[in-house]
């Protein structure tokens, strides 16, 4: 327990540092992107320099950069992420609303990617050098190397345009009405008992989820396979067999838990990949989540939106990694002591 506490303490400190540095970088980079948020908002026609200066002053964009940064950072620390330049709405509630949509997608992709990856990895390791092993490892390699947007487009062409099984994009169909309770669309539809809406949301989720989960599943499969192959040569596996366990029994009772320790790390890292992937995937599938919102923000040079979204992303990744680190203590008793 002492070690866990120590880990927690160090990790929290590091995380705060990472986010602080990141905020500076993001702030700086946003100002380096060519284009002007006000011009993007108002258009270039019929706008005088005087008017432009006035709006800039109103938004505080005329101050020196470091003053702008410090003022923004100070407000963020107090939970105020500012207002969107585009529509003047407060950024944080908007971000959180979109995040809920993305979260459902990410959770679905994590579950799909991890379980599929672990399953394929274990079977490949146990049936090493069989056709299944070779085929799935080739598949995994292509999964790791295939660009997300391309996979998304292929899936849309195949399953929506040609086969017409799944919709091409969006969160729900036009005629479906959602009742908001928690803000999580799928959860809300379940709570309010709207069977039709649930099915509709799920149908819309399938392709984006597969797109998101594909590359991570491949990486998890490769990691799991390597890890199982390593564990399977350990003495305690032989000891298990020597006391009369079947091979399947040893794998289930003694190999899995030990082999999963490095896999958990990979899954933790994958959460970051899901969030990054969601930016592209949501754009491809017109999915109204955080990724697409941020993409729109970037297009419009909407500084507060983009900065807020990235800080939020970073915070989520940091928290997830912390949870992963702590989950070791659930899996590995050596960490607990």
């Amino acid at each position: 327990m002492r070690r866990v506490l120590r880990t927690l303490w160090i990790r929290l400190f590091n995380s705060a540092l990472v986010i602080a540095v990141l905020s500076v970088v993001v702030f700086g980079f946003m100002r380096m992107i060519p284009g002007d948020p006000i011009l993007a908002l108002m258009g270039t026609e019929g706008i005088t320099d005087a008017k432009l200066a006035e709006v800039k002053k109103e938004l505080g964009l005329d101050r020196p950069l470091y003053v702008q940064y410090l003022s923004w950072a100070w407000h963020v620390l107090q939970g105020d992420f500012g207002r969107s330049i585009q529509n003047n709405e407060p950024v944080l509630p908007m971000l959180l609303e979109r995040l809920k949509v993305t979260a459902e997608l990410a959770v679905a992709a994590t579950i799909l990617g991890s379980s599929l990856g672990i399953l394929i990895g274990v079977v490949s390791a146990v049936r090493r050098n069989t056709i299944f092993d070779s085929a799935s490892m080739i598949g995994a390699l292509s999964g790791v190397s295939m660009p997300v947007f391309w996979l998304g487009i292929i899936l849309i062409v195949g399953f929506s345009v040609k086969l017409d099984i799944f919709p091409t994009g969006g969160l729900v169909s036009h005629n479906t009405r959602l009742v908001a309770v928690t803000g999580f669309p799928l959860l809300d539809s379940l709570i309010t008992g709207q069977r039709a809406a649930t099915v509709d949301i799920l149908k819309h989720m399938v392709l984006p989820t597969v797109t998101l989960a594909f590359a991570p599943a491949a990486l998890v499969a490769r990691t799991t396979r390597a890890s199982v192959l390593e564990v399977i040569n350990e003495d305690y596996v032989n000891a298990g067999l020597a006391r009369g366990l079947s091979f399947a029994g040893v794998v289930a009772r003694h190999v899995m838990r030990n082999a999963l320790i490095p896999v958990v790390t990979i899954i933790g890292l994958e959460i970051g990949v899901y969030l990054g992937g969601s930016i592209v995937t949501e754009s491809v599938f017109s999915y109204p989540g955080l990724g697409r919102y941020m993409m729109q923000g970037i297009m419009a040079n909407d500084y507060p939106v983009v900065q807020g979204a990235i800080i939020l992303y970073a915070a989520i990744i940091v928290v997830v990694n912390l949870v992963v680190d702590l989950s070791y203590s659930a899996i590995d008793p050596r960490v607990r002591s």
Binding site: E234, D235, Y236, N238, A239, G240, L241, A242, R243, G244, L245, S246, R253, H254, R257, N258, I331, D332, P333, R334, S337
Partner: protein, 332 residues
């Protein structure tokens, strides 16, 4: 045993384990490694047999073969392994599995690596008891506690909840021994059970194995590279060299009057207080990929002659003293 009249074999002499003509190969990229070549030995009920030899002589792989756990890419090419007269190699895989843990059990060299690092000692011993004895969990737990006490672990309730990393090497080996004996096996195979332990702990563990053997009446195969350990613990010793058995004899006899030149030279290379000089064996162990026919020790043997190009058979040169050599060392 079945009631059918089996070929008349005097009951008292029936060995518990009989390994005959065991051949085992590894198909590697470099070629076929003949890891075991015609290994034959017996273990009587309750007997302690030492399997000694240097790295690569095949003593550990013999143990694995008896357990039916030959690691890939090894495979048994010929011979038989009979336990209580039953040919294990003829059994379907499932039946051989049922033999493991209930009739033959194994103890490993590094106890802390032979215990699952993420499972409690208790869960592993209960697992062994349930599998071997087909009993329910509650009964298995009672048996487990009792067995842990028998192997000298005070406070078995606490030990049940511990993990391997929380135990010292000696305690972990006691726990492994408990896991091995909880199924009631009549044959325990201990593969270098004390090589990773300190001498004072080694002595405790060896003593424990002897006590348990007497108390439970099970036979013990003690695999070791340490001739001293074999001498002090075994009734009979089997000496292996390069995949073959070169000599077997009652322990005292072997050390008093070694007959195979390899055994004799091995003993002369042992350091001990009062010895003037060691006499190392010249040369190295032959490559087991396509070894030359005949005695595998011939290339290092000062007594070798032209006849050694043919494989020597085991011959009995004294009471229960066998040697595979045309020119054995005669006691002076």
């Amino acid at each position: 045993m079945s009631a059918a009249p089996v070929a008349a074999r005097p009951a008292p002499a029936a060995p518990l384990l009989a390994v005959r003509g065991l051949k085992l190969r590894f198909d590697t990229r470099r070629g076929v490694v003949r890891a075991l070549d015609g290994v034959s030995f017996e273990v009587a009920p309750g007997e302690c047999v030492g399997l000694v030899g240097e790295t690569g002589c095949g003593k550990s792989i013999t143990a694995r073969a008896v357990m039916g756990l030959v690691p890939a890419p090894g495979r048994i090419e010929g011979g038989e392994i009979r336990l209580d007269g039953r040919d294990l190699m003829a059994l379907p895989a499932e039946e051989w599995r049922a033999v493991r843990g209930s009739q033959v059990a194994m103890i490993f060299q590094e106890p802390k690596r032979a215990l699952d690092p993420t499972a409690t000692v208790g869960s592993q011993i209960v697992e062994a008891a349930m599998l071997a004895r087909r009993i329910d969990r509650a009964e298995a737990k009672r048996l487990a506690l009792d067995t842990l006490r028998q192997v000298g672990l005070a406070d078995p309730e606490r030990i049940m909840r511990t993990y391997a990393f929380e135990l010292s090497g000696g305690m972990a080996q006691r726990a492994m021994i408990a896991i091995a004996v909880v199924g009631g096996s009549r044959l325990i195979i201990a593969d270098e059970p004390t090589s990773s332990l300190d001498v004072s702990i080694q002595a405790q563990i060896l003593r424990l194995l002897q006590d348990l053997r007497r108390r439970l009446g099970s036979a013990l195969i003690l695999i070791t590279h340490d001739l001293g350990v074999a001498a002090e613990n075994c009734d009979r010793i089997v000496v292996m060299y390069a995949g073959q058995i070169v000599e077997q004899a009652p322990a005292r006899e072997l050390f008093r009057a070694p007959a195979h030149p390899y055994t004799e030279r091995l003993l002369r290379s042992l350091p001990r207080p009062g010895r003037d000089a060691l006499s190392p064996i010249p040369g190295t162990v032959p490559d087991l990929i396509d070894p030359a026919p005949g005695c595998r020790f011939a290339n290092r043997c000062e007594r070798a002659g032209p006849d050694c190009a043919a494989t020597p058979a085991m011959s009995e040169i004294g009471r229960r003293h066998f040697v595979a050599c045309y020119r054995p060392v005669r006691p002076t």
